[in-house]
Amino acid sequence: MQRWSLVVLILGGLTVLMVGQSRGREWRIDGTLIRDSGVVRSLDLNAEDMERLIYGVDEIPGYECRPNPYNGIHTLIGLNSNGDKLSGWLRSHIVRGWTNVSTVKLLRVEVRVYDKPASEYETYENYRWGTQVLPVKGSFSGLPLGEECFRYGKKQIWFRLGRCVVEIALLVRREEELADGLYIEALAWGIAYRVQQHPKRLGMAQRAMTVLVAQRPVAQGAAMSLAGVTVAPVSLLKEAGTETTVNRTREEWVVTLKRNGRWVKVKAFSWEMETGKGRVKLERPVFPYKGELIVPLRQVAEALGMVVHQRGQTIALMAK
């Protein structure tokens, strides 16, 4: 058997040894780098739990995940940060970068999950200290996103919900392509839904809505209230006799719903729906989750000719 045991250079001039950089427990899966520091303490969240909080690599139309040319990654997951110490903050986080397939715009989503309500660690006041640019309170739409929300310019939004803090940023090179803050915010509402849907109750106080079609509960757990507006997957409307057509390409994700001669067309990350009577502004944006689009239930159902009654956590869809 042949094997190099050692090859050594001896130099007549200057030699400087490199420092060995500390490496924790980490592994790579394609373009994802995962680190786990939970030696002493753990949040009981694994990489899959963190993935549930963020859009998939192919879930945002027009964007794809390309590994960074310098470090080879597009996603970084840190589990149980500071978990090698007996006390102090404890956090897991996921950050993923996408590239627009046509404009090369860069999109970045980061979610941090703490051991306690995130308000104990991150607030608007923290971000007023030593920051180069001052954040502006509130969302782009003016709607109450999370428990606290602020934004930087037209391209970055931050919000806190339960144990989570979410940051979304879009980078563009040219002025004429300046990002629409509402697009960024639509992405953010989708993350808020994911936080509330998370099986480990990261949104903390979330409670699923019960949707009744013909007095029968359907798609249990999938309907949620996002700051007072119930959203639900479009598949739920099938139970009410709606015909669904999905057009999902690399560039767009559109679902057309038809019922009794009426139709509605919704598009991922749009704040509007098209109907037979024209465009209608939506109370909450459309976003994807687990392979289908989530829509504001009342507005879409009513546009399809249904009557919607809500009492507390129960919402009933009835044919007119």
């Binding site: 001896i10 400087v16 970084l76 970068g97």
Partner: protein, 314 residues
């Protein structure tokens, strides 16, 4: 002797760094094989140009020994050089490694220099043979490859004294986390200035001082509006900032922005930089910040997941 100097004058086959124009190399080797003698082929190439720069075959050499790389001299400019050593005995086996060619011993805070930083600095400053030339190339490349995050907190944290009050004359830069970012190089002005210091000092230029336009504040108002600038990865803008951080010795280097649409801040005289950056003071005038005038950032090797919540490092 600088810290990190290998007094045995020997490095193993993982990456190391050497001074430009160095010669007098020998190769000590050892290979396990069934035969006592074989042939050793040593090929060296410049990774930037992709060209073979030296080659030698040593016939009938023992499987363990040392050969002199006669006539081999490292390039006179910054680059990285690849080695391939092939043993032909009972069969054929080879090993590869590379070394970084820099101007002199790396300086603080990159002493010893990180391989992951040298990999970038030797690529971006490839072909340069002077400290100023290298610093200029690194500043430009950082701007060309970088993505300024709009000014929100990035990979730097500040220090507090025992009473909890902010200490303005230093900061901790989480270099490893910065290198691992999916959007690398991505951050705010602190991160750009600190990373530029790491790049420049890794190739032995001693320019290692960071400076701010204003002291750190808990604030609700910007201190100044810039002239037209183009932040890295962004479109031209006039920004309103509470402060800006840059690299400064007696001259200024700033890889975070260009003036207008392409005037690089490379070795700019201080007053010229000040005039070029600030259009109007909105609140507090330009200050000596930190009060001492400058600081050398502390560099941390901990990963992104271990960075404490904003804004404190301690």
């Amino acid at each position: 002797m600088p810290p990190g100097l290998d007094t045995s004058r020997a490095i193993p086959t993982f990456s190391g760094c050497y001074k430009v124009g160095t010669g007098g190399f020998s190769l000590a080797y050892s290979v396990e094989d069934q035969v006592e003698f074989g042939t050793l082929l040593v090929v060296v190439w410049d990774e930037g140009a992709g060209e073979r720069i030296w080659q030698r075959t040593y016939d009938f050499v023992p499987r363990r020994g040392q050969v002199v790389l006669e006539g081999f001299v490292l390039p006179s400019y910054i680059t990285s050089v690849g080695f391939q050593v092939t043993w032909s005995g009972c069969g054929v086996i080879f090993t590869r490694f590379n070394v970084f060619v820099v101007l002199d011993a790396p300086k603080m805070p990159m002493d010893p220099a990180w391989v992951s930083v040298l990999r970038i600095s030797c690529q971006w400053a490839r072909g340069e043979s002077t400290p100023d030339g290298a610093a200029s190339a690194l500043t430009q490349k950082l701007w060309e490859n970088g993505h300024y995050n709009g000014g929100r907190p990035g990979y730097t944290r500040y220090f507090r004294d025992p009473n909890g009050w902010p200490v303005d004359d230093g900061e901790r830069f989480y270099l490893r986390a910065f290198l691992d970012d999916p959007w690398f190089p991505y951050g705010q002005c602190n991160d750009f200035a600190n990373f530029l210091i790491c790049l420049i000092t890794s190739i032995s230029n001693p320019t290692n001082k960071a400076r701010r336009t204003h002291q750190l504040l808990f604030t609700d108002a910007a201190n100044f509006r810039t002239n037209w600038i183009t932040p890295a990865g962004q479109s031209p803008t006039k920004a309103e900032w509470t402060y800006h951080q840059f690299v400064s010795t007696n001259r200024v280097w700033d890889g975070c922005l260009t003036f207008g649409e392409g005037i690089f801040v490379i070795g700019m005289e201080f007053n010229g930089y000040k005039a070029g950056l600030v259009e109007v003071i909105l609140r507090y005038d330009w200050q000596s910040a930190p009060p001492a005038g400058w600081f050398v950032p502390e560099v941390s090797a901990i990963s992104a997941d271990q960075i404490p919540p904003w804004p404190w490092a301690n």
